[in-house]
């Protein structure tokens, strides 16, 4: 049996004590804490105990030596979790000490493999266990979530801000032009939301089928998909049914809006949106697999949403709505772009050639800064060109967030969980810029009403 690496013994030496375990003659494990010393040169561990006939360490079978550090922090849980297990033989007691020669090692240190990644790597074990349990019990035993949490997780509902911002902006631009129908506005929001959630779900289906989500062992709150299929919270059939329902709802509402507005422009925009949504992850086009996901998302959640919402209210298109869509288009694409950074290893394994897969860290962060600032240049240029109302400049107040995200992704590029804070701020950047543009439009509408 091969010995353990010197590094493992060096690690063991960092623990304050060890627990030695063996299986006694009656078949019960015995485990006893003891002081110890490591002799790295000899590849052995010298144990000072245990002492007494009741805990005599056997020399005719393998024993286990555990170094464990799990710091309980009452009221907060545990941290600094790490442990190292060694298996090998104990030799006869010499000078009151037991010599242990390890032959095999296994352990975990959350400083090297964060708990969430450790958990993710253990998902296949959970599935195996539950499959075996189902067989033993003669019924299917699956993990569950309450319906509300399951829907939130499956559809990735919190990302709906990416739809609400452009749709409300399109409605606001139309309102500034004197066109506002609240019923059609509500139906537009509903239809666009169905479409967005449908795209999220289909993205999950294709990413799971392609293996991209399974290869990703660093999912975060913002990336790595819903994982409802990987966790077996839903079956593929259930997920496809949900997706068809969402797309069906979006299509029905879209057709109603086309009928209600009699706008062929809206029909064209709707068809373009559906084609783009399907082509995003569905084969054979799979835009996101070719490094074109950001452009598809920019067009879909920028001009298509803004102009679509505008067209519902007015029946036509406008340059102002197009220009207003640019900052939100850029910033929504950057949400995807940053969220792809922690996914890049899994994406690469699944052949998903996103920009963070193709480009170096420096180039990715550089592009982020340029594009994020370009969103604000678009606002300034739109106002300077007389297309956007002057109060829209209020959106420039969000510029500091760009630098917070930029610094965060530069510092934590290779650390998925540390990157989460920057991903959150980046999502807020899109939300705040969109919200501030809406405030700008509201001010412009109110000022126009009183002058």
């Amino acid at each position: 049996m091969p010995g353990v690496e010197a590094g493992q013994l060096a690690r063991l030496a960092t623990y304050p004590f060890v627990v030695i375990s063996w299986v006694d003659d009656a078949g019960y494990p015995v485990s006893v804490a003891t002081a110890f010393a490591v002799d790295q040169a000899a590849g052995t561990v010298s144990l000072t105990g245990p002492v007494g006939d009741a805990v005599a360490v056997p020399t005719d079978r393998e024993v286990n030596v555990l170094g464990s550090h799990i710091r309980p922090t009452p009221g907060q849980g545990y941290d600094e979790r790490r442990y190292l297990q060694l298996w090998g033989r104990a030799a006869a007691v010499v000078s009151g000490r037991i010599a242990f020669t390890p032959a095999q090692a296994w352990g975990w240190d959350e400083a090297e493999i964060p708990f969430f990644e450790y958990s993710e790597r253990s998902v296949p074990q959970s599935r195996r266990y539950l499959a075996q349990l189902s067989e033993e019990q003669g019924r299917t035993v699956r993990p569950r979530l309450s319906l509300g949490w399951l829907l939130l997780r499956t559809t990735r509902l919190p990302f709906l801000s990416a739809t609400l911002v452009p749709v409300l902006l399109g409605i606001a631009v139309a309102a500034r032009h004197g066109d506002f129908n609240w019923w059609l506005a509500l139906v537009t929001i509903l239809g666009a939301s169905f479409a967005h959630l449908g795209i999220n779900v289909s993205n999950d289906i294709f990413d799971t089928l392609s293996g991209a989500d399974e290869a990703n062992v660093n999912p975060t709150q913002f990336s790595g998909g819903s994982r409802v299929l990987i966790y077996d919270l839903l079956t593929l059939r259930q997920l496809v049914a949900l997706d068809l329902g969402l797309f069906g709802g979006a299509a029905a509402i879209g057709l109603y809006l086309v009928w209600a507005t009699a706008s062929q422009t809206l029909l064209l925009i709707g068809v373009a949106g559906i084609v783009l949504g399907i082509a995003y992850t569905a084969p054979p086009v799979k835009l996101v697999y070719r490094g074109l996901g950001e452009i598809a998302v920019a067009i879909g959640f920028g001009p298509i949403m803004v102009l679509g919402a505008y067209a519902v209210q007015t029946g036509s298109l406008s340059w102002e709505a197009s220009v207003a869509s640019l900052p939100v288009a850029i910033l929504v694409a950057l949400i995807l772009y940053v969220n792809e950074i922690p996914d890049r290893v899994g994406d690469a394994a699944a052949g998903k050639r996103t920009l963070p897969v193709r480009l170096s860290a420096d180039v990715v962060t550089g592009i982020y800064l340029v594009l994020a600032l370009a969103a604000f240049v678009a606002v300034g240029a739109g106002v300077a060109g007389g297309l956007l109302p002057i109060p829209a400049l209020i959106a420039l107040a969000a510029i500091p967030l760009v630098f917070r995200v930029y610094r965060g992704i530069r510092q934590n590029y290779g650390r998925p969980y540390a990157l989460m804070a920057s991903m959150g701020v980046n999502i807020n950047l899109h939300l705040y810029v969109g919200g501030l543009l809406l405030v700008g439009y509201l001010i412009a509408i109110i000022v126009a009403a009183f002058t």
Partner: protein, 162 residues
Amino acid sequence: MGWLPDPVERLLEIALVGELTVVRSDGRPITHPLIPLYDGERILMHSSTLFSRKLEHIKRDPHVSVSLSDPIALNGMYGRATIQGTARVIEDDPHAQWERLILDLWRKKEPVIDAFLKMRVALPLFFERAVIEITPERCLFWADGDTGHAPEVMVAPRAVVA
């Protein structure tokens, strides 16, 4: 009521981490740090299905031992104990059964569990859990925590083991 001596029961009631040793399929022991709970008679530990190898080991060979050894996890108490016993895995409904069986004990020992449970949606498989119910049969106790001398050895009354 249980037969474990009072000082060992106190250790069980305080310990935020204990070491559960089980027997692997190859006959070798493996030890897992876990939070031990105690209902006055049996030791209750639990495991997520994510880290369920130990459950598979127990189902194949129910002989286990629990070691209470870390003074930090024992809030500074310096006694040490090893409890040998037989374990049973309770796993009829990994989603909810553990909550009914041990949540109150867990909450009493570590109230932060409620905050973690609110985040169940973030890590759903972590909260699919089985309970490991251990009937103590033999106890080794070092009152001063020094395992460099022989322990007190106590054995369960015959009725408990039966």
